[in-house]
Symmetry: C2
DNA sequence: TATGTTTTTTAGATCGCTCTAAATTAACCA
DNA sequence: TGGTTAATTTAGAGCGATCTAAAAAACATA
């Protein structure tokens, strides 16, 4: 059995691995976990002894097969619970992250399986992130940053890369949510802002916002 | 904020208070928590500093108003989650205790309130224990030990005082569950065993079993 | 490639919770 | 009421996770 802390390290390393090429550095983990590099080194050694990460001094880490499996199961739990909170308990998508951070550490395989079944085996969580299946497979959807669309192109809002309440609430205010169809009406080269048209309204979006919205073409 | 450990101590003290008269002793807590008396003394001091228990050396403890409030909220969460597991996820009543022991420490008032609403504000958990309301009130139902019924008396199975999987599975095997109506057909003074008649069958129950079944008259 | 900078690791300490062993206090009973 | 037993507390230590400060390795670039 692994502690909450160990699980959080594995999850952080998994996510950093997705974002980076090559090994994940000590400092990157420290930043992601809001802790100090020295603490990370200690934990890495422990995880390495448990064969959950591959580690050589000064070389950063990668997850072992076993470590990756655990990380994926935690992510599965997190996303299933988010789905539950939004679709059964009527939470808004900006309210569920912190609660799911706690729920993801509940340790019971039958609970996860029954929850999955109860929810109808959902494929995506409320933020558009794919939910790993029981056996740990996860098909990465083909989403693009909205900022990559060209003038005149159309897309459907399908995910976000910033899960903060602040960002999600901003989208809410603009009436932007998953499933919204849009068309790029104008792109501004100077600041990379853009103007888009949805069924409801015309919106001005900054570079930051357009970068954090994921669309399917 | 209190740690899981602190919460478990408060819960244990609350339950011991229900069962005993006067202050709860160090040894009783140690036994309930599966730990050593010395550890209990340490924790008691900490809880006392936080004003969650009243404590004087060698005198045992009582919960303060604040401590009792926290304990009741944990019990509320435990019982709501048990109800959820049985009634929504189709777990059996002997499978839910350990999972609820984890879920009860999830910290989110809106989560508890919405769960309560989602479940239809249930009054009793799957073992017949009353679920405290949001404001912490808890009406103790008027249940008796089955062993207290006299020959010829009737009752309805309404609760259990042993929540172990072993006991619950035994009841299951005898087709005894909440709501079952029964009549005492015979009591044996020698070993305090009894024979009861339900709609379905006639059962022999030992003293131990009859002591742990609660009935409403 | 040598030197300065950044990253990472090590050493040593702290905090929360637990333990064993020993000391202290309370309770019981002859 | 004094002595024995049982309950409780104290003292001191360990473990997991964290930190700061200092040392070591890797890197970057002039």
């Amino acid at each position: 059995m692994n502690s909450f802390t160990e699980e959080n390290y594995l999850k952080a390393i998994y996510k950093l691995t997705e974002e980076s090429i090559g090994n994940v550095t000590t400092n990157a983990i420290a930043e992601a976990m809001n802790t100090k590099a020295a603490s990370v080194t200690d934990m890495i050694k422990k995880l390495s002894e448990k064969q959950l990460v591959n580690y050589a001094k000064y070389q950063g880490v990668t997850l072992t097969h076993k470590g990756e499996g655990i990380a994926i199961q935690i992510i599965r739990k997190h996303r299933l619970w988010e789905f539950f909170l939004v679709n059964k308990l009527n939470f808004k998508w900006d309210e569920v992250h912190d609660i799911a951070e706690e729920l993801e550490h509940i340790n019971s395989a039958p609970l996860v399986d029954r929850l999955d079944e109860y929810l109808g085996f959902p494929k995506f969580d409320p933020h558009g992130d794919p939910i790993p299946s029981k056996n740990g497979t996860l098909k990465i959807p083909n989403f693009f940053k909205l900022s990559k669309l060209e003038t005149g192109e159309r897309g459907t809002v399908s995910g976000v890369s910033d899960h903060s309440a602040a960002f999600l609430q901003y989208l809410e205010k603009q009436h932007l949510g998953l499933g919204i169809q849009l068309k790029v009406s104008e792109k501004n080269d100077y600041d990379n802002s853009m103007i888009i048209i949805t069924e409801e309204r015309t919106l001005f979006l900054s570079k930051e916002v357009a970068n954090n919205i994921l669309v399917a073409k």
